[in-house]
């Protein structure tokens, strides 16, 4: 954790001291240094560990593929070539009715949790109301490009939230998230969306939420 991260956590706790979790982390570091011989793999049998990991991966793939076909699934996104995984979930700062389906107050902030995404450096998104109205989220500007995720993720969450505000009327929105290997403009995204042709370098994930 970089110094400012620890400082932020202390400020949020209201206490200028390390958290219990920080103490625990230090203890593990101490143990790793003073008693490395005592450090055991979580599994006594590495071969068994490998088999367990492999079998988990085998289970992951079919689930991920089903999710690509049924994008309402929350936990998994699409799997591209190799080990690339694209996924996100939506949250708002003041959900009005639990977490599923997501309903947000019209003055709430909408934010994107991209935890688990790998292999796609860029992300763009827009929301579309059931009446067809489109609201662009990223890129924010007309001439802009997809966001470069490496610069904008905080523990897997995008550091830019969307204030719903006046741009969003009441009702349901489908949010279309475009993961790509290259930065895309709004025009690029529109073309791919309309044609339905994404190629190997772009994946579309959609989620939904409602504005109350």
């Amino acid at each position: 954790m970089v110094p400012n991260d620890e400082l932020i956590d202390r400020l949020l706790s209201g206490k200028n001291r390390m958290s219990d979790a920080a103490h625990d982390d230090i203890f593990e570091q101490v143990m790793a240094e003073v008693a490395p011989a005592k450090k055991r793999s979580r599994f006594r049998f590495p071969i068994l560990a490998g088999l367990l990991v492999a079998s988990a991966a085998v289970l992951m793939i079919p689930i991920a593929m089903r999710s690509a076909e049924s994008p309402q699934a929350d936990e998994f996104g699409a799997r591209g070539s190799g080990q690339d995984i694209a996924t996100f979930s939506l949250n708002c700062s003041s959900p009005e009715s639990g977490d599923a389906p997501l309903s947000c107050a019209n003055d709430a902030k909408l934010f994107f949790d991209m935890q688990g995404t790998t292999g796609y450096p860029y992300f763009a998104a827009f929301g579309r109301h059931t009446d067809g109205t489109v609201v662009w989220y990223f890129p924010e500007a007309l001439g802009g490009h997809s966001i470069e995720l490496a610069e904008h993720l905080e523990q897997g969450v995008l550091d830019r939230s969307v204030v719903l505000g006046q741009a969003h009327s009441r009702g349901e929105y489908q949010v279309y998230g475009f993961y790509s290997k290259v930065p895309l403009t709004r025009a690029d995204i529109k073309e791919r969306f309309r044609s339905g042709v994404y190629g190997d370098d772009t994946v579309l994930i959609n989620r939904s939420f409602s504005v109350l």
């Binding site: 956590d9 400020l11 390390m18 958290s19 101490v30 003073v34 639990g98 949790d113 523990q155 969450v157």
Partner: protein
């Protein structure tokens, strides 16, 4: 009560290097070691200032690495009190770093040699806010938190103040763990941006 008093099994397990025993000793003293690194001390009229946040963790870790090293641990006879022994390691590490008095004002925990001789608990020494920068940051953070909606404030309180796990918070509030994690990450980012805009945090 000293940690090893009337606890021969604990002492033996500690000397053997058993993890649970080292954990017991660690938890008993880590707060004091941290306090010393954070507040600093005086010695022979020389002021050794408190360490920066990133250095505090290093000093705590190095203290216990030295104290828990094989030779140090296995040769500890259990007759001497452990706390002064441990804090002297911390003291020496801090002196080695030659902290100046510029970072903090005041006396820290006070004269370290007297404190170790007397066995004074640091918790009994009033902690006057010596760090003006921390005071400013705290005030700005309080304003920031006051502007959050009630549910987010509750997540912040349970995660950061009560130090509950994400699972426990999600169970208490009836939301998913993913949501708790998302809110947590967003709040950290927004507070950082808030403090940077106020010029209280280096970009």
């Amino acid at each position: 009560m000293p940690v090893f008093d009337n606890k021969r099994p604990l002492l033996e397990a500690f000397r053997r290097g058993e993890r649970e025993a080292m954990g017991t000793v660690y938890k008993r003293f880590v707060g004091d070691v941290e306090t010393l690194t954070r507040r600093g001390f005086t010695q022979s009229a020389r002021r050794i200032g408190g360490a920066r946040i990133d250095e505090q963790a290093e000093l705590v870790q190095e203290t216990f690495v030295r104290a828990f090293a094989d030779r140090a641990r296995s040769s500890f006879d259990g007759l001497r009190p452990y706390r002064p022994y441990l804090l002297r390691i911390t003291r020496n590490l801090m002196i080695d770093r030659l902290r100046s008095a510029n970072g903090t004002q005041g006396q820290g925990v006070g004269n370290i040699d007297d404190l170790l001789e007397n066995g004074t608990e640091f918790s009994t020494i009033p902690e006057i806010e010596e760090n003006l920068h921390w005071a400013q940051l705290s005030a700005a953070t309080k304003d920031f938190k006051a502007g959050l909606d009630a549910k987010t404030q509750e997540i912040v309180r349970l995660r950061f103040d009560e130090e509950m796990s994400q699972d426990a918070v999600s169970a208490q509030l009836g939301c998913t763990r993913r949501r708790v994690r998302s809110v947590e990450a967003l709040i950290r980012t927004e507070l950082r941006v808030h403090l940077e805009k106020l010029g209280l945090l280096d970009v």
